[in-house]
Amino acid sequence: MRERFRSGVLFRPICLLAGGLLLSACTGPLSALQPEGPAARGTGTLWWIMLFAGTAIFLAVAAVLMLAFVRPAWLRRFGETRLILWGGLVVPLVILSGLVTAALALGERVLVVGQGEALRIEAMARQWTWRFRYPGGYETDDLLHLPVGRDVDIVLTSADVIHSFWVPRLGGKLDAIPGHVNVIRLRADRPGTYGGVCAEYCGIGHAPMRFSVEAHEEDAFAQAVGLAAASDTAVGGEGAR
């Protein structure tokens, strides 16, 4: 099942080939178009499908509009009522049905936090910083450590106003709302550093309210968040409380 969504990889060359200027257009530390996890990859695939379908629809509508000026007889032969019926109702309904079904199926996969085994990391947002708390009680500020290849549930809360947690290369965003607890499931496929931002306007410190995500192999992750074997006395590191 997961392999199917990896097909998004196929689109990357197309994106990269989309012209000299656009060579680096799709990449970047915050680019949702350069996914490194299943959620972002599935969404990325959906995006490319929608982009190509959307372009095709746009060209089709433009072509029909052009025909109305240069070859109105063709459209008249097709029949005006039929034009409205097919262009306005039948064709869009068919496309929409397929799209909505696909998006809902994808949503069940990437949006729904199921019963499965997952590591829980608490993220508390406040003006204007993120604090992450790991199972052992270890905390970091504006730096999120993740294990590679494992589902992680980020449990979002806010101490003051509404913030929104977004790591574009791993998945979508979810709001941190005072008085509510929201959970987003992410997984990083490869070790590396990814950018994260606050996506909901939260006051004058909104723009700098960024954080970074470091995905480690399992051992390095345990080391980083103080979950390594008890013999390991090196507690702490950057951002230790």
């Binding site: 929409l96 049905s97 909505v100 809902l104 949503g107 069940e108 729904v112």
Partner: protein, 109 residues
């Protein structure tokens, strides 16, 4: 034709709107009271939550269909009746399209 016939233009979509309100409200109520976790043996393992949502959906579908049937008989009359009839059909289609998810999707997640 009386002013009332003008209201018929919105008849079908009013049923759609009522379905929307009922489904959204009862979904929230069900999640709040944990109906999603109550599997009912007599309903083939469906949760109480899903069962009540499906029931609401079907009731409104029936109501929408009834509006269509009622208007169908008068769809040849004047200007407003055919409009109301086609709007009711559109509303019925919209109901199926908008709410069919009650059968499949995660109700409280």
């Amino acid at each position: 034709m009386r002013p009332r016939s003008l209201l018929l233009l919105g008849a079908g979509f009013t049923v759609w709107a009522m379905a929307f309100v009922a489904l959204y409200a009862m979904l929230s109520v069900g999640c709040r009271f944990g109906w999603d976790d109550t599997a009912l043996d007599m309903a083939g393992g469906l949760s109480l939550q899903r069962l009540q949502l499906i029931a609401i959906f079907l009731v409104h579908l029936a109501a929408g269909a009834a509006v269509v049937m009622l208007l169908r008989r008068r769809r040849g009359e004047g200007f407003l009746y055919p409009l109301a009839y086609f709007a009711a059909i559109a509303a019925l289609g919209a109901s199926v399209f908008s709410f069919a998810g009650v059968f499949f999707l995660s109700a409280c997640q």
